[in-house]
Symmetry: C2
Subunit: 458 residues, 2 copies
């Protein structure tokens, strides 16, 4: 759980403040439900990662903050000001990255099935195109030739991770456990080493292609704590590829997957431990094989955004049942359409704070429910909270990653506004949706519009 | 799985046809991915339900097709033509229902935490407001008085279902099983019997309130096969309430939850069995207590929409790995952002048809993957399918319920168009989304726009 800290704290009068702004003032001014993003928390999270790695790595480190976790234009603008890069997936995320003024050298373009239009955009913009397979490599070459440009590329690899074959990793998403080695081998992304070597040979012969990087994304193995082992395996593969082809990457992108406190672990490794483990393994293995140390790229997503966002809702109603179920339900004006972070094994256990009365005494066990038709629309289930009253403003913490980007509109419910706060100021960065927005793509066939409304003949 | 039938079939040349339209022609004309809704299948599904119940029930039956499964304006218009009603949840769904020309008498307004604005709308429109709790009942009375109108209401009940307390129901959503009785008791919706009696007494004294109905939604118990038992329990509660208050409902709404073949059961009861079980239990229990048989309302969702919708995508790429994972991945231009039916325990096992070559011979085992960054973005996992080629059009069957209504925009990926087909004609009823649509609510605080883009001072 996020602890209160420099940007999230209780005022002397017991009000929750985020980046210098009283949260209930935001509720009054912009309405609820509402996401609130702290500019200074984004900056602090970014700097923590960058410094952790740059302090122990002998070459340049580029932090490409994952856009899938939060693709907001304003959030991206903050990242650009910090000198950060971005991991863009598809034309939409690439569009946001470039509209916000990103340095193309710090943007990587991911995807296992990129459209020609997307590849054209990546070449136009000069970003590093992370190629998934040989067919795509050929397509990139073709598009580059058509455009008369050079495509900067990186090749994505899948690793054998043979040392982890016998490991059984258990977390809440995989009740029966999973082998990190099996997972990475059967992952839909990237090339196995044998084909990778072929891809390098092909790329070297393509005139419109500049092969600059290797990409490997650590998901499960990193979360399971094997970041040293997987990094060694990766650099060993680089050495093997270099031996066979003479090529080694100028940019080495090790992806993301750095665990936060909320994300399935009470005591995740501090970012500095990840940095030590990964950087030491790269430097040592490069030295062992006499290879230059590459520029290091990282794709942390959750770590950048999660603690930078809270989500506020108002308590509208209470219902108590003392005879049949012996339960209390507290209804708020938000719902789980906006709380479906699909990667979070602890979904719906966000820490809840009474923003208008942080220090309220007492406790009761309640279900905090949303307003959709779904029985599972419970924002905090069987949770001990201070007694909640109609009109209270509840803040759900650590909501800055994946919740907005995966939000849906079930029951035709418009989505929240998002407000950025910074040193006591506040500005809407995503306007509140309306029912008209949700319905803006609807139409009716002319043959149906022409008929009178009456029960059809049977 | 949906079998081919009168509206979904293979042409003589091996092309998939839906409601008289060749599916690959739709792909060419409207692009992919694309949802396709068959007008005649919606009509057939609706008539199957209505007839099943009306044929065995001695009073009027009103089928209020659940909008949460599919809230499309065109789908709703078809339902209106059929004389069907709607289960609307919140102002957005109510808006669609009334824009499509619904008969207000056939629309029910659900919700556990309705805003004042929503209650006003329900009163304005004359629909049956299904009230969740006593506070809401008081609010409805207040709003009706303010508007100088009468509010038509129904009260939602939770049932003890004591006979089912020892039953353990297992389906894919609840790996360890669940007690249908416990589930219904602790459900966030409705009033337990003791409070229900109080609510009736209060409603009778309110001048602006016309108490007309009782609402009970069978979810788990009905899916578990206990529709007779739960119906008897419900009518016994009506008798108890009548004895204590003198009131009994003119409209009895038994909700939805009718299992389809795809939905977690190989051999679900035919709709006619549900109809017999439920209608017999109502009639017999009313007779036993000397009560008049009420108008019967139903809220089937999945049953109306699921088989009426398919979703088509194109194969863009293949990748084979014969050394490390020994797998084949087939990439299409759709993704699981639009295949997240959250109520379907068999999510991602939709039947897949090669629309351009329905009878193709041969078989291979593949993962059909989407284009998002998520490892879990697999539309058909480890599935035996005919050998798939780049350019094939794949049709995923039974996609008409919950997939569009819960679709999200992760990775800033625009959502599909929807086309309605009918007797050989086709019309766009939901236009394809654009990146500009997805980004249409974004902004950047002025204080950030004013600064030059440069790394912040450290």
């Amino acid at each position: 759980m996020t602890r209160f800290g420099p940007f999230l704290k209780a005022s002397d009068t017991g009000q929750l403040e985020f980046d210098g702004v009283v949260v209930t003032d935001l509720a009054d001014r912009f309405g609820t439900p509402c996401f609130v993003l702290s500019e200074n928390t984004i900056r602090a999270n970014f700097r923590r990662i960058r410094d952790a790695f740059q302090n122990v790595y002998p070459a340049e480190v580029i932090v490409c903050a994952g856009m899938k976790g939060n693709w907001g234009l304003a959030a991206r603008r903050v990242m650009v000001e910090e000198g950060g890069g971005g991991d863009a997936f598809g034309l939409g995320e690439l569009t946001v990255a470039m509209l916000a003024g990103s340095d193309p050298r710090k943007i990587v373009m991911n995807g296992a099935n990129k459209s020609r239009e997307t590849i054209e955009a990546a070449i136009d913009m000069g970003v590093l195109n992370q190629v998934d397979n040989i067919d795509e490599l050929r397509l990139v070459g073709e598009v580059a030739a058509d455009l008369g440009r050079t495509a900067r590329i990186s090749l994505r690899i899948r690793l054998p991770l043979s040392k982890l074959a016998e490991v059984n990793y258990v977390d809440a998403r995989y009740p029966e456990g999973i082998s990190p080695s099996y997972w990475k081998r059967t992952f839909k992304f990237g090339l196995e080493p044998e084909t990778y070597v072929k891809a390098v040979e092909i790329a070297k012969t393509m005139p419109g292609v500049s092969l600059e990087g290797m990409h490997y994304h650590g998901g499960i193995p990193r979360r399971a704590g094997f970041y040293r082992e997987e990094t060694e395996d990766m650099v060993e593969q680089i050495a093997m590829i270099k031996e066979k082809t003479g090529w080694s990457p100028e940019y080495l992108n090790v992806g993301g997957g750095f665990v936060t406190e909320r994300y399935g672990a009470d005591m995740p490794p501090p970012m500095e431990d990840y940095a030590h483990g990964i950087c030491d393994a790269i430097v040592a293995t490069c030295k062992k094989h006499g290879m230059p140390v590459p520029v290091l790229m990282l794709e942390p997503g959750r770590y950048c955004w999660e603690s930078a966002g809270i989500w506020i809702t108002r308590v509208d109603a209470r219902k108590e049942d003392h005879t049949l179920a012996n339960k209390t339900w507290v209804y708020v004006d938000g719902n789980t359409n906006e709380m479906r972070d699909p990667f979070d094994p602890r979904c719906s256990v966000h820490h809840v704070v009474v923003a208008n009365d942080v220090n309220r005494k007492g406790a009761e066990v309640v279900d905090v429910c949303g307003q959709t038709c779904n029985a599972g629309d419970i924002l905090a289930k069987h949770r001990e909270l201070p007694p909640l009253r109609i009109g209270d403003t509840l803040a759900f913490l650590d909501m800055g990653a994946y919740n907005e980007s995966f939000a849906n509109q079930s029951n035709v419910i418009p989505r929240s506004a998002t407000v950025m706060v910074s040193n006591g100021r506040a500005s809407v960065v995503r306007r509140r949706e309306t029912v008209a927005d949700v319905l803006s793509r609807e139409s009716v066939p002319t043959w149906l519009m022409a008929r009178p409304i009456a029960r059809a003949a049977e």
